[in-house]
Subunit: 377 residues, 2 copies
């Protein structure tokens, strides 16, 4: 059976990048590596829509989240943690692990954050020094209103906005400089279409200034060292060299397609998937503001969600994501970020229709596929 990845990371890797990464390894302290690194730095700035340096860490995305927390805040400092899913909770765990004083602003899973409540929290607690949020909450498929929140935080000299863009960067527009976001993070295995192993983080001038005076213990993730090395087209510690070469290919592909078209393609696929799912009589999990990275679908009450996920894999070789924590078994998540185009979506929607049909759910075969074709024609 063929295998298909429709999970929100890791995502499929283009053949071009796979082959580039399979080339014999070269030493990272040589000019040949540095020349590639220099182009990669430029490509990342284009992707992040920033003039700032985008630092390359050898870690998962969580490593970059830790780097943001440990470089920007001191013990006891108050931060506003927006929680509306599993990754919002991770910001909270990190804040607690590093001894910050997190104030939680919770929204129900499946809903986006409300900027008015962020504004209220910052007004009523003027000692809050940072806001930690996801742009796309991968566990619920919801997009948070980053532009609106950045408009609030950028008015405050003493508050930084830290955005986990792990399933947002390269998916939908989030121009770091234009919106005034202070820290943007992403990982290699999402819209960057690479295997996991690299994480990326970029800091605004305001963020770098704040990072000067923090007292938290950090070494491997000490971002000042990465910034100093980047200027010499290097990293302070041995980087995941093969992935950097793969990244070089990917960034060329992104530049060739053009960021606007990358965003438009993701939106086209996301919109068509959502409409197809609704046409099958299913309900989207996000009440509104769905992320274009993935479509989270409520599993009908009569269907066992874990069995549905298993049917995708066993019958059609498709890996989709299930729900995590409080929505385990209650949703499935179909990704369309990264190396996906129109025809890919017919495979996963066909599988969804057929799995539900085989499991006894009253779905009209072809109902989702027809709408998909109408939307993508």
């Amino acid at each position: 059976m063929k295998s298909y990845l429709f999970a929100p990371g890791p995502t499929p890797v283009p053949e071009k990048a796979l082959l580039r990464m399979a080339a014999p390894i070269i030493h990272h302290r040589e000019k040949a590596f540095e020349a590639v690194f220099e182009e990669v730095r430029e490509g990342l700035k284009y992707l992040f829509q920033t003039q700032q340096e985008v630092l390359i860490l050898t870690s998962s995305g969580t490593g970059a989240m830790e780097a943001a927390v440990s470089n920007l805040f001191s013990k006891g400092e108050k931060v506003l943690v927006i929680r509306a899913g599993k990754f919002g909770e991770r910001w909270g765990e990190l804040s607690e692990a590093f001894g910050l004083d997190p104030v939680y602003l919770d929204f129900p899973w499946g809903e986006p954050a409300d900027p008015a409540r962020v504004s209220e929290a910052l007004s009523s607690q003027p000692d809050i020094r940072g806001v930690l949020i996801q742009a796309s909450e991968t566990s619920t498929g919801v997009m948070h209103p980053i532009q609106e929140i950045a408009a609030i935080t950028s008015k405050r000299d003493d508050v930084v906005l830290i955005v986990d863009g792990i399933t947002a960067v390269g998916v939908f527009p989030m121009p770091m400089d234009a919106w005034g976001i202070d820290v943007v993070i992403t990982g290699s295995q999402k819209a960057l279409m690479l295997p996991p192993g690299l994480a990326f983080v970029s800091l605004s001038e305001k963020a770098w200034k704040k990072a000067e005076s923090t007292d938290t213990s950090t070494y491997y993730f000490d971002l000042k060292k990465y910034l100093a090395s980047a200027g010499k087209n290097q990293t302070p510690y041995t980087p995941a060299i093969a992935l950097v070469f793969g990244l070089h290919e990917i960034l060329k592909m992104i530049r060739q397609e053009g960021l606007e078209e990358v965003f438009a393609r993701h939106h086209r696929l996301a919109d068509a998937t959502r409409e197809a799912v609704k046409a099958m009589g299913l309900e989207l999990f996000p009440k509104f503001s769905p992320s274009d990275a993935l479509t989270a679908v409520r599993v009908p009450e009569s269907i066992d969600g874990l069995a549905l996920k298993k049917a995708f894999l066993d019958r059609y070789g498709i890996t989709v994501a299930g729900g995590q924590n409080q929505v385990k078994g209650k949703i499935i998540r179909i990704a369309h970020l990264g190396y996906f185009d129109s025809l890919d979506m017919f495979q996963v929607i066909a599988a969804l229709e057929m799995c539900l049909y085989q499991m006894g759910y009253p779905v009209t075969l072809g109902s989702g596929l027809s709408v998909l074709a109408q939307k993508l024609a």
Copy 2:
């Protein structure tokens, strides 16, 4: 021109592993990944010569060094840091970054640590709770006497021995359990013959017990989470999946060759290289106790060390390592760890002879090569 890697990491990657890593990516929360992970765990225990779990981190080796420091010690705790090169200094930097109270025991670059002085330090300062050392100090090519030091620390219930085995594991014998080492670390891009991006760490029971009561801030490198996940053939955060697949191939190769033969091969190549270099009239940098991972050679006074390193690359496409910090330009380091066999060494010794000859050094062409052939025949 062909390219050759003779630096002490990254080292050449076998074609088998390159191709395995170029296969389409699969999701790490699926059974197919877990089955591979289970075999990898067993292979790592064989390699580390331990019954303990060997944890897999997505980071460079420095990340695993940080994990050891941040998981095993509390702020203010006294540790003995053995410094005899750049990586010994890194233990010191890490200890300071995490607020420990490092006591330094320094040896000249090019010399191994003296176990008697370690013993003295532990006796005279009974509040020392850990000893941090390299097994193979990559910056000088020296092997430290780990067995002797472990014999000292294993008599103390309140002292743990942390060994950076980054250029030691899979190079020469260092049986973790038999010698009573508490923490062993390595990285993917050395004897494990993979691209950089994975690091490995294993803890003795004594080390796990000590890790229970520490107060240092850690999240991404929280080893308790990696241990809990490993039991389920998983990692707490997305691992560098492609590298885990490459590792699967490599561990099969190591098991097929057999650890004893892996060690014997490294010793054979190291011994022959050292004798060849001496036969050319050159001096080894280590006074005694050279590491079998690499041969550090003093650059003759009449020769510019940086120019020699450049000649290797420009004339023969060979990357060797130069000296770092205080020995910059004064030594070159030729690696023979990982995917190397006898015939490889003729290439690098030939290049060394010819480079020196071309630079006007009075070397008899063939002098090193002859000895190499005699040793390896």
